[in-house]
Subunit: 246 residues, 2 copies
Amino acid sequence: MNTKKEKMIPVMEIFGPTVQGEGMVIGQKTMFVRTAGCDYQCAWCDSAFTWDGSAKDEIRRLTAREIVNELKATGGDAFSHVTISGGNPALIRHMGELVEHLHEQNIDVALETQGSIWQDWFLSIDDLTLSPKPPSSKMKPNLQILDDIISRLKDQPSNNYSLKVVVFNDEDLDFAESIHKRYPNVLFFVQTGNNQVHEENDKRLVSDLISRYEWLIDRVMERAALNRVRVLPQLHTYVWGNKRGV
Amino acid sequence: MNTKKEKMIPVMEIFGPTVQGEGMVIGQKTMFVRTAGCDYQCAWCDSAFTWDGSAKDEIRRLTAREIVNELKATGGDAFSHVTISGGNPALIRHMGELVEHLHEQNIDVALETQGSIWQDWFLSIDDLTLSPKPPSSKMKPNLQILDDIISRLKDQPSNNYSLKVVVFNDEDLDFAESIHKRYPNVLFFVQTGNNQVHEENDKRLVSDLISRYEWLIDRVMERAALNRVRVLPQLHTYVWGNKRGV
Ligand code: SF4
Ligand code: SF4
């Protein structure tokens, strides 16, 4: 037992190695650490089990060192990249400790958050994705906080952080365009959403997701304001549907 | 008519804007310029019409300026990125002129080549993909030339160029691993191939391509030598099957 008081991180699941299915390092071999808890409640959240109580018995409070040990036990030596997701992992003030432990072992760290809270350890994340939520989420992002986050990142290498907006409809795409306009020099991704997180028929799901992707491509192609934008799907849903832990 | 003798580029097709479906800037909105002619004859070439004579009546010899004009006429102002592909566009010694014209208009330029020939204008490409061909192609890449190319690129920003190996089988994956080992600091992608370039049933094609992608993910996940690798499909085939010009 540890005599020194160590700080605990609420962990929902640890799994991998698998591919990162989204965003700036899409395709990267990675392990996932998913934290519990979120300050948002997006209408279409695909990780609602991290905050809606439905999986609260699975939440474990682990130290950074315990997380590293479990990553090693699960992934062996077959990974050099860890993605921290949630929920909103930016809720955890002392996450920097985990990032440090991983860096000591030459493991890169990615993190995704909606951008509602700044943490100083953002500066040590290798692939930071800020994903402000569009109108269809029914959330209203605080853009002053996002301004502050982006301005604190301005001395980072430009390929260390990015913005990503999930788009379900034209109103969401207008929101995406306004965000891109606000931060024109930040790597920018738009992504199709999945509003059928309970669909278990993979064939039907994939065919619907591909149609949505084609729709989004068509819309983005029309807009000159979205020339420097990358349009991506959630690749993992094409391969594994709505399964968890892959 | 032009009195100065201008250098001509053999163009197979110009189209877009569409999304880049592969590699280091997957998802990027881009226009495509496909040049004619290749020094290889890969067994599974998905662009054989650029070199096998089957579409030779479609080849046009255009100046750099004519290409820029046609890009503008086709894409309007809805693009800021052009991808030059082939065939092997590195066969064309004076391609640098086109790259310059595009840069003057604040347009980024990507280029894909198998890496069989060096050209000085590689240094001005924004997203350069070198794609040495694996055993299943029945080609034998000259790795001394590739060594030379990589060493000439070493002062470029690391996210300006990448290696990409198409993988159909385990032997190809061994080849990919040997390439990654040879150039461990170069951004590295493995990609599923499409050996059904004449399949017109999109549903069957997509379901087969997704199975291949899952197979490749599984193989890469096992190998610790492939930790810093990104595994991607050809996204455009999921959306448009084998259609040309999208
Ligand atoms: S911010 Fe993310 S985790 Fe939180 S509710 Fe929204 S989609 Fe779910
Ligand atoms: S190098 Fe590319 S264009 Fe040339 S034959 Fe091979 S696949 Fe086709």
